[in-house]
């Protein structure tokens, strides 16, 4: 007649000891070795605390309708210029040349955020003038909302020159965000919500492109017009204006930020516990061996019978 296992249950055995014994010491050492080394292992294997993380967002960008244009009209350094700043226009005197500018901003996917700026500028020229180089500076209002609320004013700078006089310059590029240090994970970040060009200043130094670009590049957050392929078309008909067509896209950006306390803890906790489980299992086996075999003297108390009868 064969026997078979009809039922099984684990039996709980308690091992008792007093405070000042080897078993107590052993227990303390085991506890330390179980819970502290996982922390060290998780830390030393790098990436325990995440300090930088990224998210994706399309910024809310608006063209600020501020423009500064400088065009070299001869090879010996004559120029014409125009801006939307009245003080500068007054200063330019005879070099002021007012172009015809048309601007349209488009929301292509109807998500409420503008996606594209179409900027068209026609610069009328005198018969003896030709355009050899173009410097165009336009400013934007740039906003991010998902993690920290970023409100800033930024610029795009186009500079192109050619030894051959041109008829048209076509620019199609992206307005990219550049950041040096990660953004905070929450709060309002508006230290750069100041004018890139101080249009109310009557001093010539306020419109110096050197100082404008220098102070702009000192910022942590900047935008840059990434236009790898400007198209310079030569062959301007006499009497026709120089044309500058720009298509500037406002693409989705990957923004890095410094995670907050709970996000950091969340990822650290996962790593710690996953290593801890291994240590718990190992030291559980060690403890069982030690106490079962009475390597350290303890008083085992077998499971009592639950019912007295």
């Amino acid at each position: 007649m064969a026997f078979y296992e009809v039922y099984s249950h684990p039996a709980l055995i308690r091992y008792k000891t007093s405070v000042c014994t080897k078993a107590t010491l052993f227990l303390a050492i085991v506890l330390c070795l179980t819970y502290i080394p996982p922390l060290l292992v998780a830390y030393r294997s790098q990436g325990f605390w995440i300090k930088r993380s990224t998210y994706e967002e399309q910024p809310v960008v608006r063209f600020q309708y501020q423009t500064l244009l400088v065009a070299a009209t001869s090879t010996r350094g004559d120029y014409v210029a125009w801006s939307t700043f009245p003080h500068l226009n007054n200063m330019l005197g005879n070099n002021l040349r007012i172009p015809a500018v048309s601007v349209r901003e488009e929301d292509q996917n109807q998500d409420g955020k503008l996606d594209l700026l179409l900027f068209n500028l026609q610069l009328p020229l005198k018969p003896e003038e030709q355009v050899y180089s173009i410097q165009l500076l336009i400013t934007f209002s740039y906003q991010l909302f998902r993690m920290s609320t970023v409100v800033m004013q930024s610029l795009a700078f186009v500079q192109h020159s050619s030894s051959v006089p041109g008829a048209r310059l076509f620019i199609s590029g992206d307005l990219r965000l550049q950041q040096r240090t990660p953004l905070p994970h929450r709060g309002l970040y508006n230290i750069y919500n100041v004018s890139v060009i101080d249009g109310s200043s009557p001093f010539a130094s306020a419109y110096d492109l050197d100082s404008i670009i220098r102070s702009y590049q000192e910022r942590n957050l900047t935008t840059v017009l990434s236009c790898p392929m400007p198209v310079w078309t030569v062959g301007r008909a006499a009497g026709s204006p120089f044309q500058l067509n720009a298509e500037i896209r406002y693409p989705m950006e990957i923004i890095s930020y410094r995670p907050g306390f709970w996000e950091t803890i969340k990822f650290a906790w996962i790593q710690y516990v996953s290593v801890l489980l291994i240590f718990l299992w190992v030291f559980e086996r060690i403890q069982r061996f030690v106490f079962q075999n009475q390597v350290l003297t303890t008083v085992p108390i077998p499971v009592g019978k639950p019912h007295l009868s």
Partner: protein
């Protein structure tokens, strides 16, 4: 735009509204599906008949300008505006919305003319024979609906070879699990009808929708003349006023470069801001020599400044302190100013203009009340030839406090040297160290010129700036190096500069009376072997250290030496047959600071410590 932002943000918060608003935005996406250009019918919508009865018949009642009335509120009733405001004359009715997909033809762009390849154009008859395809194939309703109307048009050939347009409207079924079976929201799938501008809400509407526009500059052109006149004097950065002959007030201009290096004449000078502007002018000598005001000395000297900002302030005339005449080869002589002399530009011949203003320096003395006390100007006049065009002019303005005993000595740091400021140097005399008041008279380095020759003058020198390593040089032609001892001495003089100082201050503000603070320039001559040798390189080596606290370290020069390298072999061999030798002058700054280390009061026993970011988010 603001409206949409609010919608998007709130959808992420309230999930139950997510489908609803996505349906709104995807309604427009249905049009791009059909290959239209979105700009072709910007404000028209493909919607359904049963949902816009309210908006078409009574558009004026529906005011939804503010984002909140876009109604995620549970009340179904839109906010009714009070009817007391009169609508503006032209805008009392809005266009009704085209809703039936069958009657919607986006490619019909010409009135009463058949649009080619526009299959839904009702005017096309015989012209269909010219068609090659349909530019708009389908016009469909909202794709989120389980059952939607789709108007399709197609072109097919008949048996006898003619083209024939087929138009039909049919129902398409959406088998998506989350399709919308029926919808009872009136404004769910269409844009909310815009608020009717009335006389009372026009300003708020304008403010809401026009954030950036052309011509929105707050200050249009004129200098800020409407400042409060509570302060009688100027303050830092204020524009200084002049009294014109006509009795009006003008502005004190100081030419400056702006977007290019060209001079801009109408840039004001700011009170208490020292400026040094260099800018260029393009001239046609024959025309401009006597007519261009910017070349004439009178433009810069015949100025009456107003001492303060208020109207009763005194007038301070600009006094000419010196006029220096610069000859064609660059030598300068001071002119004795006599009254009748005409110093205006003069065209000597077709290619030479005399008495042209090259440099203007204003020195303005002010008192603590912000009033101008005294203004002097010194002018450098010179000749401009045809070859020296465009002409560079320099304009300086410096502000000096009244009652200042002597010219202020510029420190190069207080106390430690500041990066980029010139070294403080002096010479030893019987009663201590003597330092020049001119900040340019300091240890300097030869600056390369266009003719590159070491022995031919004039030589330019640039001051040695603290912390800035630099190199420059000149060339020595071998045929000039015949008299060795003479050339060697001349070359050394050129390399060392005209005002070669033997002592350098160890701090930026070392007092003259303390000789221990001044370090001698050690002469370290390599290769003393030969009796006479030509110096081939002149190198200044400055060792400096950081001094004082870790938080505010002060830069201190600990030693300075000049290293002169001379030739050891014959010059011909060194030049490699090119008969030209290059002579280098350089300066280098070597930090010799000991690395900062923490100091303990008692030696700690255990140095086991966790990495600094071990408890990163907690600390």
């Amino acid at each position: 735009m603001a409206t949409w932002t609010v919608v998007r943000r709130s959808t992420s918060q309230v999930f139950s509204l997510f489908l609803f608003f996505t349906a709104v935005s995807s309604n427009e996406n249905a049009t791009s599906y059909n290959n239209f250009h979105t700009a072709a019918f910007g404000d028209q919508n493909v919607t359904f008949n049963d949902m816009d009865n309210d908006t078409t018949t009574q558009p004026t009642e529906f005011d939804s300008t503010t984002p909140t009335t876009l109604s995620y509120s549970t009340t179904e009733e839109p906010v009714l505006p009070t009817l007391t405001t009169e609508p503006l004359p032209v805008s009392d009715r809005l266009l009704s919305v085209v809703t039936n997909v069958g009657s919607f033809c986006p490619c019909d762009e010409h009135k009463d003319v058949c649009d080619i390849n526009c299959c839904c154009d009702r005017e096309c008859g015989e012209e269909v024979a010219l068609f090659t395809g349909c530019s708009v194939v389908t016009v469909s309703g909202n794709k989120k609906l389980c059952s939607r109307d789709v108007a399709s048009s197609s072109l097919r050939s008949t048996i006898d070879g003619y083209s024939e347009v087929q138009l039909f409207v049919h129902k398409e079924t959406n088998y998506d699990v989350f399709c919308i079976q029926s919808q009872n929201r009136v404004d769910g799938f269409s844009h909310p009808s815009p608020a009717i501008p009335t006389g009372s809400n026009f300003d708020s509407l304008f403010k809401q929708f026009s954030s950036f526009i052309f011509g929105s500059e707050e200050n249009s052109g004129q200098a800020s003349s409407a400042e409060p006149l509570t302060v009688s004097g100027y303050r830092y950065g204020d524009i200084m006023m002049t009294a014109e002959d006509s009795g009006q007030r003008g502005i004190f201009w100081l030419p400056a470069p702006t977007v290019t290096a060209d001079c801009v004449d109408t840039s004001p000078a700011a009170f208490l801001q020292d400026q040094s502007n260099r800018c260029t002018r393009d001239l046609v000598l024959e025309q401009d020599c006597s007519t261009l005001l910017a070349l004439s000395i009178d433009t810069y000297t015949n100025i009456q400044l107003i001492a303060g900002k208020n109207t009763v302030a005194d007038v301070v005339p600009v006094q000419v302190s010196s006029v220096i005449l610069q000859s064609v080869d660059g030598t300068q002589t001071e002119l004795q100013i006599s009254d009748g002399e005409n110093l205006n530009p003069l065209l000597l011949n077709q290619a030479l203009c005399a008495n042209v203003v090259l440099k203007v320096g204003y020195v303005m003395t002010y008192n603590p009340a912000g009033e101008m006390v005294n203004v002097t100007v010194s002018v450098v006049l010179g000749f401009v030839s045809e070859g020296a065009v465009p002409l560079e002019q320099e304009f300086l303005v410096t502000f000096v406090q009244e009652d200042e005993e002597e010219v202020a000595v510029h420190y190069s740091g207080n106390p430690g040297y500041v990066d980029g400021l010139p070294l403080v140097s002096g010479t030893r005399s019987a009663d201590g160290i003597v330092q020049s008041v001119d900040p340019r008279d300091t240890l300097s380095l030869l600056h390369s010129t266009e003719d590159q020759d070491c022995l031919l003058g004039p030589h330019q020198h640039s001051p040695v700036l603290f912390g800035v390593d630099s190199v420059s040089g000149c060339t020595l032609r071998l045929e000039d190096a015949g008299n060795c001892s003479l050339v060697s001495q001349m070359l050394l003089d050129v390399l060392r500069g005209p005002n070669y100082s033997q002592y350098v201050a160890s701090f930026g503000n070392s007092p003259l009376g303390n000789p221990l603070d001044w370090l001698p320039v050690n002469n370290f001559n390599l290769d003393e072997a030969q009796s006479c040798s030509i110096p081939l390189s002149f190198h200044l080596e400055v060792e400096w250290t950081k001094y004082g606290s870790l938080v505010n370290p002060q830069n201190q020069i600990v030693s300075i030496r000049e290293i002169i390298q001379t030739n050891t072999t014959s010059l011909e061999l060194l030049s490699g047959g090119s008969s030209i030798l290059s002579v280098r002058s350089s300066v280098s700054f070597i930090p010799v600071s000991a690395p900062a280390h923490p100091g303990y009061r008692a030696t700690p026993t255990i140095d086991a410590k966790l990495p600094f970011d071990f408890f990163f988010p907690f600390v």
